[in-house]
C-alpha cells in the first residue's frame, strides 16, 4: 500500500509527519523548520504559502490569509463578530464563506488546500515519492460541516483523506506510543484557534475516548486580541490615531501582540515597539506577565467549563485522572499550566513538543490504517449529539454526544396527512433543546407512497463513520427497498462545487509552477549579475574594452528581463550573458588562481 502521511492542519501552523522504523517523525524543510505557517498570500507572482507568505502579513495584509481554519464549514453569520479583526475581505456565496484575493474568491477549503499542497510537496521532496493519501487531524469538537470541509480541502489538494481524526486523540496516540502508559489520561489541547479536552482510557493498546468537549472558537488568537485591543486603545489615547483604520499596521500590532505574549511565557516583563502609521514615530510600552495574565484570565477560565463537562460525561472526578497531557502552543503559558494543575490537582505532562505531537499522532494513525501498526486501536467518540427536528421546532436526539463511533441509530417515519407524498427531514447537531439553537446539518425530502396517514413506514438510518461524518439511508419497510438520500449540507460545498475546485486546483497548479519557476529564475539571474559585476571589477583590466562593453550590454539586458514575468526569457538572457562573459570568467579564474599561488614555492603546489 502507498505511503499514508499524517497531517496536522493547524490554525497557525501546519505539519506533515510519517512513520519511519516504527517511530513517527515530522518532515522538515531544507532549513530544518518543521512548521509551515498556515498563511497564504497573493503576490504579483501568484499564490505563495508558508514562511514566505507570512512576510506578506504586514506588507500586503488585504491579500494575505491567515487563521483560515476559523472559517472552515461556517457561514458568514457565524463569524460576524470577529470580521473586524481580519484585514482580508470575507463574503458569502451559497451559504459558504468566500475570501477575496485579487480578482478571485476562494472558499476556506480551497485556501486550506493550498496549505495541504505545500505539505504534500514538502513530504514528496523529502521522501522522494508521490504522496496521494493522508490522515488529517481536526479539533475534536469540530462539527459535521467542519469535518466535511476539511475532507473537501484534502480532495482539492489532490489527497485522498483516508481518515479525519481528532487532534487530542491523535496526541494521545503519540503520547501512548512513547510513554507506554496505562490508565486514564486527560488531553488538554489549547491551540491557535481552538480548544479541546478529551478524556481517554489507555489499556492494552486500546485508546478508548470516554468523553470530549471543547470550543472551536477559543485559542491563542483570542489571547492576542486582548493585547491588540490594549495597544490600540493606548495608541489612540497617546497619539490620537485609530490604528484599526490601517490594515497593515493592524497586522504589525497583531504580530507584536503575539510575540509579546510568547516572550512573556519565559520572561516577567517585555518591551513593546510598534511603528505608527503616517510617520508618527513609534509606540513603545512595557508589559508585564502579571498584566497579561490579568487580561487573559477570563479567556483561560473559559477552557475550564468544557473540562468539567468532559469529566462529568466520563463519570469521573479529577482524582480519577492519572495523567494530564498538554497539547498546542497556548499551553506554553504559565497561567494555563497553573489553571490546569489547579483543576486536575496534578502537574501536567509536557515532555512532548506540544507543536508536533498532533502530527506525530496522525502519522501513527496513518500507519495503523496501512496495516503497519496492528497493536494499537483508537476508539473515538462523536463530540456532539445528532438528531432530527420534531413537531414544534424541538430537536430529538438520536445519537448522544460521546457515543463511540462508528455509531448508528434508526428512526421510523410516517405520514401525517392522507395521500401525503413526502416528509421533510431536518438533521441537526448540538446539545440544545430548540432547533434554532443547534447546527443545521442538512435537510432533505423523503418520498413516500401516497397512502392513508400513518400507514407508510420509512426507516431512516443515521450512520456516523469512523471519521465522525454522518451518512443517511432510508428504507421503505413495506417493500424493504433502500433509497439513497442526497443529503445537501446546509453549510458546505456541494459535490459539484468540490469537483470544480479540484479541476481549478490542477489548472492553478500549472500557474503555481510558473510562479515558482519565475521566482527561481529571478534569484538565479540576480546571483549571476552579482558575480559578473564582481568579475568585471576584479578582472576587467584583463579583457579588451570591446569585450567589457559586450558584457555590460548583456548585463543590462538581463537586468531588464529579470523584471519581466517570463522565466524562459530570463533564462535565455542568462545564457547569453554566460556566453559573452565566458572569456572573462576563464581569465578571472586564472587571475584568482595566480593570486592565491603568489609567493608560494612550486614544491608547495605540486
Amino acid at each position: 500500500m502507498a505511503r499514508i502521511v499524517g497531517i496536522d492542519l493547524g490554525t497557525t501552523n501546519s505539519l506533515v509527519a510519517y512513520m519511519k522504523d516504527g517511530q513517527p517523525c515530522v518532515v522538515p524543510d531544507r532549513n530544518g523548520r518543521t512548521m509551515v505557517p498556515s498563511v497564504v498570500a497573493l503576490t504579483d507572482n501568484g499564490l505563495i504559502v508558508g514562511d514566505s507568505a507570512k512576510e506578506h502579513l504586514t506588507r500586503n495584509p488585504e491579500r494575505t490569509v491567515y487563521s483560515v481554519k476559523r472559517f472552515m464549514g461556517k457561514g458568514l453569520a457565524d463569524v460576524q463578530d470577529e470580521l473586524v479583526y481580519f484585514p482580508y475581505h470575507i463574503t458569502e456565496t451559497g451559504g459558504v464563506i468566500r475570501i477575496r484575493l485579487g480578482q478571485k474568491s476562494y472558499s476556506p477549503p480551497q485556501v486550506s488546500a493550498m496549505i495541504l499542497k505545500e505539505l504534500k510537496l514538502r513530504a514528496e521532496a523529502s521522501l522522494g515519492e508521490s504522496i496521494t493519501k493522508a490522515v488529517i487531524t481536526v479539533p475534536a469538537y469540530f462539527n459535521d460541516s467542519q469535518r466535511q470541509a476539511t475532507k473537501d480541502a484534502g480532495l482539492i489538494a489532490g489527497l485522498e483523506v483516508l481518515r479525519i481524526i481528532n487532534e487530542p486523540t491523535a496526541a494521545s496516540l503519540a503520547y501512548g506510543l512513547q510513554q507506554k502508559t496505562q490508565g486514564t489520561i486527560a488531553v488538554y489541547d489549547f491551540g491557535g484557534g481552538t480548544f479541546d479536552i478529551s478524556i481517554l482510557k489507555l489499556k492494552d493498546g486500546i485508546f478508548e475516548v470516554l468523553a470530549t468537549s471543547g470550543d472551536t472558537h477559543l485559542g491563542g488568537d483570542d489571547l492576542d486580541r486582548v493585547l491588540v485591543d490594549l495597544f490600540i486603545g493606548d495608541i489612540r489615547d497617546r497619539y490620537g490615531i485609530d490604528v484599526d483604520r490601517y490594515p497593515d499596521h493592524m497586522q504589525t500590532v497583531r504580530l507584536e501582540a503575539e510575540r509579546a505574549k510568547i516572550r512573556l511565557s519565559d520572561e516577567l516583563k517585555t518591551e513593546i515597539t510598534i511603528e505608527l502609521p503616517e510617520d508618527k514615530g513609534r509606540f513603545t510600552r512595557e508589559l508585564t506577565r502579571d498584566q497579561l495574565e490579568f487580561l487573559v484570565a477570563g479567556i483561560i477560565e473559559r477552557t475550564l467549563a468544557p473540562c468539567r463537562i468532559a469529566l462529568k460525561d466520563a463519570g469521573l472526578t479529577p482524582k480519577g485522572i492519572d495523567e494530564v497531557v498538554l497539547v498546542g502552543g497556548s499551553t506554553r503559558m504559565p497561567l494555563v499550566r497553573q489553571q490546569v494543575e489547579a483543576l486536575f490537582g496534578k502537574q501536567p505532562h509536557c515532555h512532548l513538543n506540544p507543536d508536533e505531537v498532533v502530527a506525530l499522532g496522525a502519522a501513527v494513525q496513518a500507519d495503523i490504517l496501512s496495516g503497519g501498526t496492528t497493536d494499537m486501536l483508537l476508539l473515538d467518540v462523536t463530540p456532539l449529539s445528532l438528531g432530527i427536528e420534531t413537531m414544534g421546532g424541538v430537536m430529538s436526539s438520536l445519537i448522544r454526544r460521546n457515543t463511540t463511533i462508528p455509531a448508528s441509530a434508526k428512526e421510523m417515519f410516517t405520514t401525517y396527512v392522507d395521500g401525503q407524498t413526502g416528509v421533510d427531514i431536518h438533521i441537526l447537531q448540538g446539545e440544545r433543546e430548540l432547533v434554532k439553537d443547534n447546527r443545521s446539518l442538512a435537510q432533505f425530502r423523503l418520498k413516500v407512497p401516497p397512502l392513508p396517514a400513518g400507514v407508510p413506514r420509512i426507516e431512516v438510518t443515521f450512520l456516523i463513520d469512523a471519521n465522525g461524518i454522518l451518512n443517511v439511508t432510508a428504507t421503505d419497510m413495506r417493500t424493504a427497498k433502500s433509497q439513497s438520500i442526497e443529503v445537501k449540507p446546509s453549510y458546505g460545498l456541494s459535490d459539484t462545487e468540490v469537483e470544480r475546485m479540484i479541476e481549478d486546483s490542477f489548472k492553478f497548479a500549472a500557474e503555481d509552477v510558473t510562479a515558482r519557476k519565475l521566482i527561481e529564475a529571478r534569484l538565479d539571474a540576480e546571483a549571476l549579475i552579482k558575480t559578473t559585476d564582481k568579475s568585471l571589477v576584479d578582472a576587467g583590466h584583463l579583457i579588451t574594452e570591446e569585450d567589457a562593453d559586450g558584457i555590460r550590454t548583456s548585463l543590462s539586458q538581463l537586468s531588464i528581463a529579470k523584471n519581466g514575468t517570463d522565466p524562459r526569457v530570463i533564462r535565455a538572457h542568462m545564457a547569453e550573458l554566460e556566453q559573452t562573459a565566458k572569456h572573462l570568467n576563464v581569465l578571472m579564474l586564472d587571475h584568482s588562481l595566480k593570486k592565491s599561488l603568489h609567493g608560494k614555492k612550486v614544491s608547495e603546489v605540486s
Binding site: T374, P406, E411
Partner: protein, 250 residues
C-alpha cells in the same frame, strides 16, 4: 399541504420486529458466506475465504458480546470482550480490504458499539432485557411512584415558586433549602429503588441459572419482569426530577 416533518411511531425501534420478509432474507444471509457462498460455521469470519461476516440484525446485544441473558455482568469481562471484538471489526483494520468488507466492518462496529453501550450500564441493560423478554419497551418510559404522587405535585409548585423568586431574598433562601432537602430525600429514594432492582437482577439470574421450565418458574419469571418494569419506570421518573432539581438549584 404537502410535507410535514413527522417523526412518529416506535419510540424504541431497536426492539421492533422487522418486516417478515426482511427477517427471512437476513437469516439466509447469515448462514451463507456473502462472498464464497459456502456455509458459515465460524463465529465472525467465513472459514473458507476468511471474509468478515455481517452480524445479523437478529442478533441481540447479549449474543453479540457473547454473554448469556443475565443482569449481573462482570464489567471487566464485558470490557475485555468489547476490546477483543473491536480489534476484530474496527474499520481501521479494513482499510486495505475490499469495499464490501469495509461496509460490513463499519456496520458490525456500529452494532458492537451500541451493544456495549447498552449492556455496560446496568439500568439500560435491564431495560433492554425487559424489551427482549416481553417484546415491547414502549410503556416502560416513566411514571411517578403511586405513593409519591402528592409529594411530587407539591414539589413542582415549590420549584415554580423558586424559579419566580428573587434568588438572594429570604424567600429564595428558604425555598432553596426546602428543595435541597427534597432532593436529598428523592436521592435516597432512588438509591432504595436501585437496591431493590439489584435484588431483582440477582433473582432473575438465579432463575435463569436454574433453567427450570415448571409453571412455578414461569410465575416467578413474570413476577420479576413485572416488578422490574415498574421499578425501572419509577426510578427514571425520580431520576429526572433529581436532575431537574440539581440543575435548578445549581
Amino acid at each position: 399541504m404537502g410535507y410535514t416533518p413527522c417523526p412518529l411511531l416506535l419510540m424504541d425501534n431497536q426492539q421492533s420486529p422487522p418486516h417478515p420478509d426482511t427477517r427471512r432474507q437476513l437469516q439466509m444471509a447469515r448462514s451463507m458466506c456473502w462472498h464464497c457462498q459456502s456455509e458459515v460455521t465460524g463465529e465472525y469470519f467465513c472459514d473458507r475465504c476468511v471474509k468478515v461476516q455481517p452480524v445479523s440484525k437478529e442478533t441481540d446485544y447479549f449474543t453479540c458480546l457473547g454473554f448469556p441473558r443475565r443482569l449481573m455482568l462482570d464489567p471487566q469481562k464485558l470490557e475485555a470482550k468489547f476490546y477483543e471484538l473491536s480489534r476484530t471489526f474496527h474499520p481501521d483494520f479494513y482499510q486495505t480490504k475490499s469495499a464490501d468488507e469495509q461496509t460490513i466492518s463499519l456496520s458490525n462496529a456500529a452494532v458492537l458499539n451500541t451493544a456495549y453501550r447498552t449492556l455496560r450500564d446496568s439500568i439500560q441493560r435491564a431495560e433492554y432485557l425487559l424489551a427482549l423478554e416481553t417484546g415491547s419497551v414502549k410503556d416502560i418510559r416513566t411514571s411517578p411512584p403511586a405513593d409519591l404522587f402528592e409529594e411530587i405535585l407539591d414539589l413542582q409548585d415549590t420549584l415554580e415558586e423558586y424559579r419566580a423568586s428573587e434568588r438572594d431574598s429570604e424567600q429564595g433562601h428558604r425555598l432553596r433549602a426546602t428543595l435541597q432537602t427534597e432532593q436529598e430525600a428523592l436521592e435516597r429514594r432512588k438509591e432504595g429503588m436501585e437496591a431493590q432492582l439489584r435484588q431483582l437482577f440477582a433473582d432473575w439470574d438465579k432463575l435463569q441459572d436454574a433453567g427450570e421450565a415448571t409453571s412455578l418458574a414461569r410465575v416467578e419469571r413474570d413476577r420479576i419482569l413485572k416488578q422490574m418494569r415498574d421499578l425501572l419506570s419509577n426510578r427514571t421518573y425520580v431520576n429526572n426530577i433529581v436532575n431537574d432539581l440539581a440543575a435548578t438549584i445549581a
